[in-house]
């Protein structure tokens, strides 16, 4: 675990680089994280997903699966892979400042 300053904000990261405290997240941090993994700049489409993921996490206490995202946020699978290429579930969670998802779907 390491403490870092991202976009002027103190954040704690686990060994892999995922944020460990979702309350340290803000939009500027998200932009920086997106930059780190090559998905910047974030568009409205990205934000819609990130905001869904954040609010779902708040209610459920765990990172939503891709299936949950497609069903509840109404974003098709193809778009998820277009917006967060190759590893959409992990990349979305990373930029949203949430724990790595563990669901199989």
């Amino acid at each position: 675990m390491s403490a870092q300053t991202i976009a002027g904000q103190e954040v704690d990261l686990d060994e892999e680089g995922f944020m460990t405290d979702p309350s340290q997240w803000n939009r500027e941090v998200a932009e920086q994280l997106a930059e780190q993994i090559g998905v910047a700049p974030l568009t409205d489409e990205h934000w819609k997903l990130l905001e869904f993921l954040r609010s779902d996490y708040e209610e459920e206490g765990e990172t939503a699966t891709l299936r949950r995202v497609t069903k509840l946020a109404g974003v098709p699978t193809k778009d998820l892979y277009r917006l967060f290429p190759k590893k959409p579930a992990k990349k979305m969670a990373y930029v949203a400042g949430l724990p790595k998802p563990h669901g199989c779907i």
Partner: protein, 167 residues
């Protein structure tokens, strides 16, 4: 401010060279899911995925059968039911109904939806020529996202360098 350590960034920023071929040879509900779950998981990890449907696995992509796959307790001791009653009328329907309900509870999609999902995520779907010939099935009778009907040698070429899972 200088930072004590460099910022760790998850390794998923790197490209994966991994390629996975899944051979689906069974047409029962319980044997259809493992291939789809693995394909989906691999796709979520950025791995190139090919699914090859052969023999009874063709039922998974046959438009007539794909939404009606069944799970049967007959000969399946893992369903923990006395084998003498497993062939009775209605038992397969009951086992199928129960399995579908449990799968839905876990929020896994039905077969046709799942195939669409892995296809949308970039999986390549192929049907086996020998099986299609044997079952007299044309490509237009199969799930729309099947790319082609190919022979075993084509599959060998295509799976060059891939990891292969046979189900």
């Amino acid at each position: 401010m200088t930072q004590a350590q460099a910022m760790p960034v998850p390794s998923f920023a790197e490209e994966s060279e991994r390629k996975l071929c899944i051979i689906c040879s069974k047409g029962t509900l319980d044997m259809a899911y493992p291939g789809l779950v693995l394909a989906n998981a691999a796709l979520m990890e950025g791995i190139e995925v090919h699914m090859f449907f052969t023999f009874w696995g063709l039922d998974m992509v046959n438009k007539k059968t794909m939404s009606h796959l069944k799970a049967t307790p007959v000969g399946n001791t893992a369903m923990h039911m006395p084998q003498a009653i497993s062939p009775l009328p209605g038992m397969t329907a009951m086992a199928t109904h129960m399995m579908k309900k449990e799968i839905d509870k876990l929020d896994f999609p039905p077969i046709d939806e799942f195939l669409q999902q892995v296809s949308d995520a970039g999986a390549h779907l192929w049907a086996c020529k020998m099986s299609a010939d044997m079952m007299k099935l044309d490509q237009d009778e199969m799930f729309d996202e099947i790319e082609d009907i190919i022979g075993a040698t084509d599959f060998m070429e295509m799976s060059d360098g891939a990891q292969i899972i046979f189900i």
